[in-house]
Symmetry: C2
Subunit: 307 residues, 2 copies
């Protein structure tokens, strides 16, 4: 048995996980970091998973993943570099003593943390990125689907595209897609044409086509103004503008991130997974969906690697 918690900024998802790696009980609340008062993480944890302890063996380990391990969280679990295996994640867990016993926190993963020996040459662009929580979901998706390699997308506020080789996370990129969508819709002139909002598949696919066709550089900033232009010219209904904008941004993301991939595994809830599946289809990339509970599966896999 294992008690696992995917503890993010806004949500907390707790699992009681059986020996086979599948959750036998779950709790989902809005006790994310932002709602933990006075740093009382131990109290929130006790209140959430305490009842499970009464039935589970005394030594049932507790493993957390997500932003709870960030500097703004409970105890910082410093990032590990790539390649990051389940064993490396297990070996670098942070620990904290609590009334519930020892609690471990899975570290995040970073690339480009250090400048290469010799420094950056003039004109060099160094790509760096971080994730926290998604590494555990990717491990779970790998475990659930079998195999030890592939490309994974975890869409959302900050979409992650993750490359796995030989069972290790070797590369990844973050796209601010969801957050840019919200900022454009709520805080720019584009929102003025979105007083109504209906899901419009045709408009979504029109946006996807535009996003996939973007050339080098910041042409996206011009295509964004195009949302307004299409409205001004009467070719985009007000109620469809948000669907078009969503398609444009997801198409732009898929166009940049899926290059070189023949197949992508989508780790997301059904509605969002469906949007990405459509965009990947238009891009000519095979898509498959990961089963649910990838965080629980990943926590189980990392817990199994704890020595």
């Amino acid at each position: 048995m294992l008690i696992g918690v995917d503890w993010g900024t806004t949500r907390l998802r707790a699992y009681l996980i059986g020996a086979d790696g599948w959750p036998v009980a779950r709790k989902d609340s809005d006790d994310g970091l932002l709602n933990v008062k006075d740093g009382d993480f131990a109290g929130v944890l006790e209140r959430t998973v305490g009842p499970w302890r009464e039935d589970a063996p005394e030594d049932t380990p507790v493993l957390l993943s997500g932003m709870v391990g960030s500097r703004q969280g409970w105890v910082e679990a410093p990032y590990v570099g790539v390649p990051a295996t389940a064993e490396a994640l297990a070996a670098h867990c942070a620990t904290v003593e609590t009334p519930l016993g020892l609690v471990r926190i899975v570290p995040g993963v970073a690339i480009g943390q250090t400048v290469p020996r010799g420094g950056l040459a003039r004109g060099d662009v160094m790509r760096a990125d971080v994730m926290r929580g998604e590494e555990t979901e990717v491990m779970g998706a790998l475990e659930a689907l079998g195999g030890d390699a592939g490309t994974f997308v975890l869409p959302g506020t900050h979409s992650k595209w993750v490359t796995v080789e030989g069972g290790a996370i070797t590369d990844f990129s973050t796209y601010m897609t969801g957050e840019i969508f919200a900022a454009m819709k709520n805080h720019t002139i584009l929102g003025k044409m979105m007083s109504r909002d209906e899901a419009d598949r045709e408009a979504y696919l029109g946006g996807v086509a535009r996003g996939l066709a973007l050339g080098p550089g910041g042409e996206l900033m011009s295509a964004l103004f195009g949302v307004r232009v299409e409205g001004l010219m009467g070719r985009l209904r007000e109620a469809s503008a948000a669907s078009y904008l969503s398609g444009l941004l997801i198409g732009a993301e898929v166009g940049a991130a899926s290059r070189g991939a023949s197949s992508v595994t989508i780790v997301a809830a059904a509605a969002l997974a469906e949007r990405y599946a459509r965009a990947l289809e238009v891009a000519g990339v095979e898509a498959r969906a990961a089963p649910p509970d990838t965080a629980a599966r990943g926590l189980a896999k990392i817990a199994a690697a704890l020595s």
Copy 2:
């Protein structure tokens, strides 16, 4: 003599213009469209330029440009298509009778207003765009600098890149650069690292280099998250993050928009013109600045073409 007004959403810039096309008096106020109460455009105009009428000849024409000619403005002056010459702009001015006499409003310019004969083929992406006010500034810059062709950038909330051939505007694109900067800074996680803000030339140029290096698609959305990552990794000071973000977006804009241009004329106030000049320099594109009062010069040129 001519009374010319560049009347935008937030600002009003009025000029008394001599026979040589140069302004002899000017007024600048925040009586933009948003501050005109009860649609009393005539009253605001009278209050602003009325005193000039006392000295100028009775038949001094009054010509307006900018958003005052939009559907949200005073009287709509429908867009003209490309190629748009000063003569075409003059021929399509909207008119309104006022206590000051007949007032004319310069139309905006649109591309891609109509779907090509035969319709769009599947996969076709139709580029459309609109401008209002910038066409007049471009005409003024052409007049001031001589020549009848070139590439012009008018940076700002919605940056315009305009191609002129044979004295006519033949193509243009809008980039939402300024508005995206504000939305990212004020309404996303990036703003959290920008509590202080100092102009940092090195950070700006670092952002420009990243923006110019963007590949196809929406890689910009990943580079935007990179602003946060650089901060997390301690490679970007909090006070320099806004400079880096500005450089990233302007570099991305220049990278996409200046392709194919060997020389670009910048139509902007000094501080913004300087930022674009630096980015163009890094991109290897020759930059020159237009002289001030391009709107007044353009209004004079269009007025001269009124039959």
